[in-house]
Symmetry: C2
Subunit: 132 residues, 2 copies
Amino acid sequence: MRIGELASESGVQSSAIRYYEAIGVLAPPARTPSGYRDYDSSASTRVQFVKAAQQAGLTLTEITSIFNLRDEGSQPCRHVADLIDRKLGQINDRITALSQTRQELKRLAKRAERLDPEHCPPNSICQIIEPN
Amino acid sequence: MRIGELASESGVQSSAIRYYEAIGVLAPPARTPSGYRDYDSSASTRVQFVKAAQQAGLTLTEITSIFNLRDEGSQPCRHVADLIDRKLGQINDRITALSQTRQELKRLAKRAERLDPEHCPPNSICQIIEPN
DNA sequence: GTATACCTTCAAGTCAACTTGAAGGTCAAG
DNA sequence: CTTGACCTTCAAGTTGACTTGAAGGTATAC
């Protein structure tokens, strides 16, 4: 299977697959006599795994670490479970931060409704957003 | 006021202030005879505004557009209100996406608890995270 | 034989908001 | 007169996951 076929089959771009190879996510595949990358069917499994793991919020570095464990022969279960727990913590933090920003924006939106544009004090930049 | 004083007064780094100037967020200030940047007190107001608006999730580009309106003499109120509404939409989208990721991670965490590492099928990469 | 669709490598660009580093000038204190 | 804190400019690095471009080779259909 050539790179374009793998790409369209797994829903990523060829350039992304080359990139995965370059940074060590995917192992270099066999080559045809003319130098084209020649993938076997397991490549598709790996690319799909990359996508699924990215969906779950794992970085390419973390995904690589799973592949490395796997290729060593270890079972990456515990490792993956740890990654997932850490990710959950990070996601929760991000959501908390975004929720605070949302609160702040809602406050500003209400302020904007309440404030009369005509009464904009001339020496402030914008009465809606002001420090304090 | 020199750059270091402005920086510590407003809680940002000198390099950030130079950066704001470079990308057009802040106007170039006066200079002392020896070439040091020499800020007046309105600079502090602007930097504080930048911080407040960033807190609210606005980008430097958006903040610049507020300053530009202001410096033209227009009142940026409506513009700011629009920015805030758009931001609220974006933040809500981000939170929704993150919440879905969190759901997915929770599902995986439960799977990880339930699955026995000893029963890891040899031809899959990791039974916890799998496509589908 | 030629069009075109695909492949190759390597370098550099993208986005955002800065920081870091190098090489050097200025200023006040002791 | 030297030390040290502060300032200057300009270029490049950071983070993550890629994409884009240039310059060229290969495969297939007509």
